[in-house]
């Protein structure tokens, strides 16, 4: 899985390309947490190219959300597919995330 990072102003947008599963989940979490530390929590997760997640991916997302929560931030998730949202709702994890339609909306929320 490829993980792209892009700066939108002061915000780092992390965009995984492909499903967040198994071994990729840990790599994603490391990259995401590093981005959080670098940009003082100004991070957005762009899920437009992330079609689905498995249990490892879910765990990584929860860990990432908790890491941000400790710093008083929420995990801003944009472009989440219907499948991903459904999985988060079925596992009762939906409340851990903040949802935005696109990267611009999510980035604007830091203002």
């Amino acid at each position: 899985m490829e993980i792209r990072e892009q700066r939108h102003g002061a915000v780092t947008v992390v965009k995984p390309i492909g499903p967040l599963i198994q071994g990729d989940a840990q790599v994603f979490l490391q990259r995401f947490n590093a981005a959080v530390a670098r940009s003082l929590g100004r991070v957005v997760l762009d899920a437009t190219a992330m079609p689905f997640v498995d249990s490892h991916g879910l765990e990584a997302l929860v860990d990432a959300a908790e890491q941000l929560d400790e710093g008083g931030q929420g995990l801003r998730l944009c472009g989440a597919s219907e499948t991903l949202r459904e999985v988060l709702e079925l596992t009762e994890l939906a409340s851990l995330f903040e949802y935005y339609q696109d990267v611009q909306d999510a980035t604007r929320s830091f203002l």
Partner: protein, 632 residues
């Protein structure tokens, strides 16, 4: 134990028993043993008395035998055997003897208290000397005999045998039995009474003991430690002790809560937890600048761990000397009451702008002026600063953009007024330029208004049938002249029949104006700009392709941000507000479509406007022939 408690917080106490009977049963056993010992003592005393009486009786019988023997001998000497037998009978009766007899040495019974046992009817003349055998039959249990041998002159020895009446056994005496029974019953009653009283006295003590064990095991609930008040003064005293302790605890808690909540502050750590969810960092230091509290955001913004911050000097967590100096001035020197420092931290693209505001906390009235410590508020201003810069750039750019067409309009109006009166060609050219600049101005103002609408969330679509053929004709007439002027080949590569779609004509036109306008703007002279349309099953794709300067991959998403302009120096030389693509994408999305871009630096870009296809009911036939393949 009080069973009226409704809540079940008594797990510890539930494990220990209360109000058992072990001590009472022990008391009952002791009482029974005491009664048994008393009865045994009574029986033993009675038996002893009986034995003493038997000894006394035996002594009396011996004395009687000694005094009776001479009289018997005298009567035998006188051959008064009848008198002898009367005497023996009377003596036996008078002395309440069991047996009284006079025996010959050969065992013949000369006289007996029971006349049926007399075996010698006639008194012999002589008989041999010696002791007579025992009167009682062998093996039969009988009283001991008292034997007294007396010599009868000229005849031989006689043996006077007296047998005392048997002493009745203790149990045969009804009085004794009755007495013992009374003693037993009274003793048993007293024993039971003792048990009952012991139980009454011991029960609260045992309950108190159990409560103490429960308390030592960690039970703190007053309800669980309280015992039944019906168990007497000890129970009441214990309950009063527990109630007093509970009151003391409640008062302490109240005082703590009062201290924490005064005035207007929430108790129970709510304030701390509330601060933990803030995205601004908060650090509280005491008068010695030791960190007493830091929320999670503070740890993130300072790049530390909370556990490493709390209890340590704040200076250890601060990497900026200016901030450390500010904290010292506020907390230690007292030279400032409040101060703020804006600092940059991080490197390169990761630079952040953070504002530190330090304010001295008001000390308690009885404390020194610097003992109250301070609070440090840490705010991440990076995104705001970047947004501010973008807006400033927009204002500068918009001012320039607005001024340019206005200047052109003014100049051409002046030219027309001065020289155009007699020169219809010049006048026509001036009017044409004024018209173009006025429309440019109108679009810019419209863009700005649309941005405001989008920001306010109030942008609405006025849907109607949109004839794409007419729309493209208008675009063609608008841009052919500009393309020619820039020596760019502007081509509309459209199918012969164009559909009619549902949408907001003005806004779709605005989106296409922005896409085509950008393509012409960023394509150098000699380049090509082509607009094509592809109709698919559910969508219509309108592509605007140029072979201009192109966009780097890192900026292909960012160009849709409001006020964003690519960092390419060639872009910087061209005026623009940075709003066009943002507005175009917003319009496309409002219609249920989108705008995507494919680009390569120095090779050009292709922007694709995706719109929903018209419904099957709206036939494409409604459109007339398109201005296909027109070229500048």
């Amino acid at each position: 134990m009080d069973q009226t408690r409704s809540s079940p917080p008594v797990p510890v106490l539930a494990r220990v028993s209360r109000g058992g009977w072990s001590v009472e049963l022990l008391g009952l056993a002791c009482a029974l043993l005491t009664i048994a010992a008393a009865v045994a003592a009574g029986v033993w005393a009675s038996h002893s008395t009986q034995r003493l009486a038997a000894q006394q009786q035996r002594s009396a019988v011996s004395t009687l035998a000694r005094s009776l023997a001479p009289a018997c001998a005298a009567l035998v000497e006188q051959n008064e055997i009848s008198k002898l037998r009367v005497l023996i009978g009377e003596v036996a009766q008078a002395s309440e003897l069991q047996d009284a007899a006079v025996l010959l040495p050969d065992g013949g019974v000369l006289a007996h208290s029971d006349p049926r046992r007399i075996t010698v009817a006639e008194l012999p003349e002589r008989w041999p000397e010696g002791r007579a055998p025992s009167l009682s039959s062998a093996g039969a249990a009988s009283q001991p005999e008292v034997r007294q041998v007396v010599k009868v002159a000229g005849r031989g020895d006689l043996t006077v045998v007296l047998t005392a009446a048997p002493t009745p056994p203790v149990w045969s005496n009804p009085e004794t039995v009755t007495g013992l029974a009374i003693i037993g019953v009274i003793g048993l009653g007293l024993g039971l009474l003792l048990v009952q009283r012991t139980h009454v006295v011991v029960r609260p003590l045992r309950a108190i003991q159990d409560a103490l064990r429960a308390a030592s095991a960690g039970e703190t609930d007053a309800g669980s430690l309280t015992i039944s008040p019906r168990w007497g003064a000890e129970a009441a005293a214990w309950n009063a002790l527990i109630a007093g302790r509970e009151q003391l605890r409640a008062r302490e808690l109240d005082e703590q809560a009062e201290r924490a909540a005064a005035p207007g502050r929430p108790a129970d750590g709510l304030l701390d937890r509330s601060c933990d969810v803030l995205s601004h960092g908060i650090v509280v230091v005491d008068g010695a600048t030791t960190v007493r509290y830091a929320n999670g955001a503070a740890a993130v913004l300072l790049g530390r761990k909370r556990a490493e911050m709390v209890g340590r000097p704040l200076q250890e967590s601060l990497s900026n000397d200016e901030v450390a100096a500010l904290v010292n001035q506020v907390v230690r020197d007292g030279s400032r009451r409040r101060g703020s420092v804006e600092a940059e931290q991080g490197t390169g693209d990761e630079r952040s702008i953070v504002r530190y505001t330090c304010s001295r906390v008001t000390p308690e009235p009885d404390e020194g002026p610097l003992s109250g410590g301070a609070i440090l508020l840490i705010e991440d201003l990076t995104q705001q600063r970047i947004a501010d810069r973008a807006r400033e750039m927009f204002v500068t750019s918009a001012t320039h953009e607005l001024r340019t067409p206005l200047t052109n309009i003014r100049l051409y109006v002046e030219t027309m007024l001065e020289d155009g009166e007699n020169d219809p060609v010049l006048r026509g050219k001036c009017i044409n330029v004024i018209n173009t600049e006025a429309r440019r101005l109108e679009r810019m103002v419209s863009d700005m208004l649309s941005v405001a609408e989008i920001e306010a969330g109030s942008m609405k679509l006025h849907e109607d049938d949109v004839r794409l053929d007419a729309l493209f004709e208008e675009l063609d007439s608008d841009y052919q002249a500009a393309a020619r002027e820039k020596e760019i080949t502007f081509t509309l590569d459209l199918p012969p029949k164009l559909p009619v779609i549902r949408g907001d004509r003005d806004k779709i036109a605005m989106a296409l104006h922005n896409l085509i306008g950008n393509a012409l703007k960023y394509t150098p002279a000699g380049g090509n700009v082509t607009v094509s349309l592809e109709e698919r099953e559910a969508t219509i794709l309108i592509r605007v392709k140029d072979d201009g300067i192109g966009i780097g991959p890192e900026e292909q998403e960012r160009i849709f941000d409001k006020f964003y302009r690519a960092k390419d120096k060639r872009v910087g030389r061209i005026t623009g507000t940075g709003l066009g693509l943002s507005l175009a994408r917003e319009v496309a999305r409002l219609h249920g479509g989108d705008i995507t871009v494919e680009s390569q630096v120095d090779h050009g870009s292709t922007f694709t406007l995706v719109l929903p296809a018209p419904a099957a009911a709206a036939p494409a036939a409604a459109g007339g022939p398109a201005p296909a393949a027109k070229a500048a």
